[in-house]
């Protein structure tokens, strides 16, 4: 197969100001065909691979690195197919704005649920393999030999009959002008040398020396800092605040309302902003949830434990009859609290707004969702917005589905056009304005027969549904299927036990406190409920819990 010169790849003129050498794609050169280029002018071979003249390979990573190793893992997959020298590999994040402009060429940016590698390994490997074929073709063209006589290894292309060699960096420019081949064959995993191997992570060293830039370490020229307070009661609003009391404090530049429920102080430093915010008199309208408390929420859930109506998640036989006829009935009630994601790095985002352009720098598990939040808050179209992803000090789900901190940063920046403003939440704000792992209670009733066999089990969950708030379109006739993770009749989230008569159901009780996806999601509490109860059953039956569980 001969790879033809590129005829009509679109060029994109997108200005960027990402820190650390972001991309500036599609700089149209006054000569030759259009080549997509990185900020330093190096050619892009495929969307996933940029090669510099010194043989450095820049692998584009669309997913976010937050400690789970995806950055290195995805780079390994690309490098494996590319047949490049691993010691020459570096990485960069493409931006969501470029992704939109290029018809989502990098696919999904979302990073959660352990899906970063699982759902993109195929196409990132293709990106590496395609680039490899183009580099080989470029070398073959230069030598005027068939590409089939050439091979690539360790960033070096060899013409087997003559023994001539050339490195990737030397042919990258020519390769970038070729039309990418349509179908490339991926390597058999048994031949992998880089992918699937326990290599050192690419991003460790900077984390040990203080050099790694996290979202809240960002510095931009002329940047101001903001501290924020949202209404301490969810659903409440700002009634009034007395800005005049703090505008004279050292460093304070502006006091701004953010949406209808928050107020922020913008100052030269964050410490000044925080001090002024603490001194700012604010009157809240705490709204309909003003009197809600842990006790009222617990009572709401407790009522659900015996409520007649509930969504069924798993059922076989007649559990209620089995329990009614049990030789021995065992019952237990458990509860699981709200949990905050508590990322070590509190929520933060930096925004710069003008009526012509809005840019956001932020730690995010989903660049595209941060971009969507930027569009919505700025009111500007996609071609006037950009998001630059900065390393995350933890995610755990908090920075995936929720970009409230981005929305706030943009709303603040809009009130100071042209000035970059970095919004950082205090830890207190972070704890009080989470999207928490949901609160539930669970009542388990087990029926032992005369021989101490488990004849029936009713597991009643009462409590909060994540999907109802976060993704209502995923509900099934009002039922939240995710509530039954680990308890379902079949599939990825199947229950691990067989019980002759079984009923698992969910009385949905949604307190006003917002829930969210949190590492493991609903498996966490479901497993604890079920396994603790299995231990209680084993004890009641006079059996060893471990043996009983294994049998």
């Amino acid at each position: 197969m001969t790879i033809m010169p590129k005829m009509n790849r679109r060029s994109f003129i997108i200005s960027t100001a990402a820190i650390g050498g972001g991309l500036a794609l599609g700089l149209r050169l006054p000569f030759g065909p259009e080549v997509v280029r990185a900020a330093d002018g190096s050619p892009e071979i495929t969307a996933w691979v940029v090669i510099r003249p010194d043989d450095t390979v820049v692998v584009r990573i669309a997913r976010s690195e937050m400690g789970q190793g995806t950055l290195t893992g995805l780079a390994q997959l690309v490098a494996e197919e590319l047949e490049c020298n691993w010691s020459k590999v570096t990485t960069e994040y493409p931006t969501p704005g470029q992704s939109v402009a290029r018809k989502r060429i990098w696919g999904d940016f979302s990073t959660g649920g352990s899906r970063g590698i699982r759902e993109s390994h195929d196409y990132v490997r293709k990106g590496g393999a395609t680039a490899r074929e183009m580099l080989i073709q470029a070398a073959a063209n230069e030598w005027k030999v068939p590409a089939s006589e050439c091979s690539a290894a360790n960033s070096v292309i060899t013409h087997k009959p003559s023994g001539r060699t050339i490195t990737y960096g030397k042919v990258a420019e020519a390769a970038s002008r070729l039309e990418p081949p349509k179908d490339v064959k991926l390597k058999d995993p048994k031949d992998w040398k880089i992918a699937g191997k326990p290599l050192a992570r690419l991003d460790t060293l900077d984390k040990l020396t203080g050099k790694q830039v996290y979202g809240f370490d960002l510095k931009l020229p002329g940047m101001l800092n903001a501290a924020i307070k949202d209404c301490p009661v969810f659903g409440g609003k700002i009634k009034s605040f007395d800005a005049a009391k703090v505008t004279g404090m050292k460093g304070v530049k502006k006091v701004v309302q953010v949406g209808d429920s928050a107020v922020a102080v913008v100052a030269d430093t964050w410490w000044h902003a925080k001090k002024a915010l603490d001194a700012l008199p604010i009157v809240w309208d705490e709204g309909p949830n003003a009197r809600a408390s842990s006790a009222t929420i617990a009572a709401m859930l407790k009522e659900g434990l015996d409520a007649p109506q509930a969504f069924v998640g798993n059922q076989n036989g007649d559990a209620k009859a089995a329990i009614a006829g049990a030789a021995k009935k065992i019952e237990a009630v458990y509860s699981y609290p709200f949990q905050n994601h508590a990322c070590m790095e509190p929520m933060n985002a930096t925004a710069r707004y003008t009526p012509e352009r809005c840019e956001v720098w932020c730690p995010t598990q989903n660049g595209e969702a941060a971009f969507a939040a930027t569009l919505a808050a700025s009111g500007l179209p996609a071609d006037k917005c950009e998001v630059y992803k900065i390393h995350l000090g933890g995610g755990f789900g908090r920075r995936g589905a929720f970009h409230d901190y981005v929305t706030q940063a943009v709303l603040i920046a809009k009130q100071m056009p042209g000035t970059p403003v970095k919004l950082l939440w205090s830890r207190e704000e972070d704890m009080a304005h989470g999207h928490y792992h949901p609160i539930t209670q669970c009542k388990l009733t087990g029926a032992l027969d005369a021989d101490n066999n488990l004849a029936g089990l009713h597991m009643r969950i009462s409590g909060q549904s994540i999907l109802t708030v976060v993704r209502p379109q995923a509900l099934q006739d009002g039922r939240d299927p995710a509530t039954f993770q680990g308890l379902s009749p079949k599939g990825e989230f199947a229950l691990g036990y067989t019980v002759p008569s079984l009923l698992i159901d969910h009385a949905m009780r949604n307190p006003h406190v917002p829930p969210g996806f949190w590492r493991g999601v609903n498996i966490n509490q479901n497993a604890i409920y079920l396994e603790c109860f299995m231990d209680e059953l084993a004890q009641a039956a006079g059996q060893d819990a471990l043996e009983s569980g294994a049998s």
């Binding site: 020396t209 050099k211 050292k250 390393h391």
Partner: protein, 149 residues
């Protein structure tokens, strides 16, 4: 103006004397390797050395550090040669998100100066920094490795 000695450099910072040392280091001096995690000396992300001892800088007023020798994570290595704790951290791939690790490393470096061969009990009692990714076992292994280095 308050005069600070940070990583061997003498510099003046223009802050109110009750400003936490953490924010003076981050926002005045511009060294961002020292992190804000909780602001109440619980998590240890802001750990620096004051005259060689580990201190949680988020609750120490900057004027209390005046005239003392302050070392931040940026000053721990000797030029390009990593401190033995950083080296152990690299070898054991301790870091996940990495946010807490600079404070963790500073706390451990101070511990090893005090107790060159700490026991697990010493580590439990002294290294109380919080890592939300949960790297505690790797931290422990790397401490023992650094102690032997």
């Amino acid at each position: 103006m308050i005069e600070l000695n940070i990583n061997g450099r003498s510099l003046k910072v223009d802050v109110e004397p009750d400003t936490p040392l953490l924010w003076a280091i981050r926002e005045q001096v511009g060294l961002t390797g020292t992190k804000y995690g909780c602001g109440v000396a619980q998590c240890g992300s802001c750990t620096v050395h004051i005259d060689g001892a580990a201190v949680r800088s988020c609750v120490m007023p900057v004027n209390a550090a005046a005239g003392k020798k302050i070392t931040t994570i940026e000053g721990l290595a000797s030029g390009s040669v990593l401190h033995k704790v950083q080296k152990a951290w690299l070898d054991h791939e301790v870091a996940q998100c990495g946010y807490c690790q600079t404070g963790m490393i500073m706390a451990v470096a101070a511990l090893l100066k005090e107790k060159p061969r700490p026991t697990d009990a010493d580590i439990d009692a002294t290294i109380t920094n919080i890592c939300r990714c949960g790297t505690f076992q790797q931290v422990r292994e790397a401490i023992h490795a650094a102690a032997k280095a």
